[in-house]
Symmetry: C3
Subunit: 158 residues, 3 copies
């Protein structure tokens, strides 16, 4: 079976440096065999790649790309916390917050940008639970905020 | 003490088939002794029984019924994950998201539809923590979205 | 190293009685070595000290104070659950929900009122992950709702 880094390479994904926190907190933390990230925004380097609201200034395709980018940033955080993404035993839970207009209903389609990427990278280990919520006001006007919970091996794979 | 299925029968509740996920994820997952559901909507068969916004197109009574229905669907998910609801040691946490008008303040009364049902079914084991939030835009225009976290016995009761 | 109660005393903080739940649930719960609170509101005695919306009727400074007060109430809950805040091994996660106008973007600055207090009290053990969301409708018109997750020692410190 391909390792996570092989699958990332096949998908042409280079994990960025794990984005810093926007406040007096840390971006990721491990307790027991669980890793949880802070809310990840669609950072690309020092800039938010997607700002604005779905159903108003952004298309579903742009939202999908924003959610995918949040997931990539979350993976960078998890890698920073556990050293090696092959130590991920299961992606447990995605909390997906979509910045949108009041009549927008396609939060699931937007968040599939994160979910489908995790499925591609981790296979069965990438099958996760999810919440999908429409949010009316978001820090820094970000299009999506995403939290990832993962279970990792007791002793991280070398 | 009555079993969970006895109490469900007393309440006239027949657990439905566990609703499918609305996207590229799974509806429930167990890790260690914790089970967490994806966001449950008020499905009744293939239809959402309650759509619209509290404080606008829905009454508190309808919201209460929607939250109760979400909880029933969540129990169907937990049963699918652990095989037997008597294996539930404790309902840990409810995340309650209420689709509502900006000036609606009775999210707690709406979510009591879920909380009171869990208390009736599980007694002390049903006493849970909760968040209650007003949400301005919801997937499929659902009235309520509910996540249930539960602790289960290490080896599920037969 | 100073104990938590010494640091609370230095900061002039007297923990209140743990606020009661606003519905059919419990305000805090422990499972395994994890403690999670229900959504905490800025109660001061029997009154909400901060109601209304950030970016509309409340300043960032008032929001900061509201978040700090929610954190104090959360600590009262955790103390009620584990008996002694010195048993806290790590603050794991803050869920920060800020009641605000649609164009408000400073949820992080508001929630720093909670984060900075936890850092002051717990030092490295206070470094936590965080979500920061803008919410359009809140129970009882509260300015902030805050959930705190903490890891505690297996056998609470005497």
């Amino acid at each position: 079976m391909a390792t996570v880094s092989q699958r990332l390479a096949e998908l042409g994904i280079v994990l960025p440096a794990a984005p810093a926190a926007v406040g007096a907190y840390v971006p990721v933390l491990r307790f027991g065999n669980v890793v949880v990230t802070s809310g990840q925004l669609p950072w690309q380097g020092n800039q938010l790649a997607y700002t604005g609201q779905l159903g108003k200034t952004l298309t579903v395709e742009q939202g999908y790309a924003a959610a995918r980018l949040c997931a990539i940033n979350a993976l960078a955080q998890i890698q920073a916390a556990v050293g090696n993404l092959d130590a991920v035993k299961q992606i447990l839970r995605l909390e997906g917050y979509v910045h949108c207009a009041p009549d927008f209903r396609q939060q699931p389609q937007v968040l599939n940008g994160a979910s489908e990427l995790l499925n591609q990278i981790f296979g069965d280990k990438g099958r996760h639970t999810r919440t999908a919520l429409g949010i009316h006001a978001m820090p820094l006007d970000a299009a999506v905020q995403l939290v990832v919970w993962a279970e990792v091996e007791s002793s991280p794979a070398g």
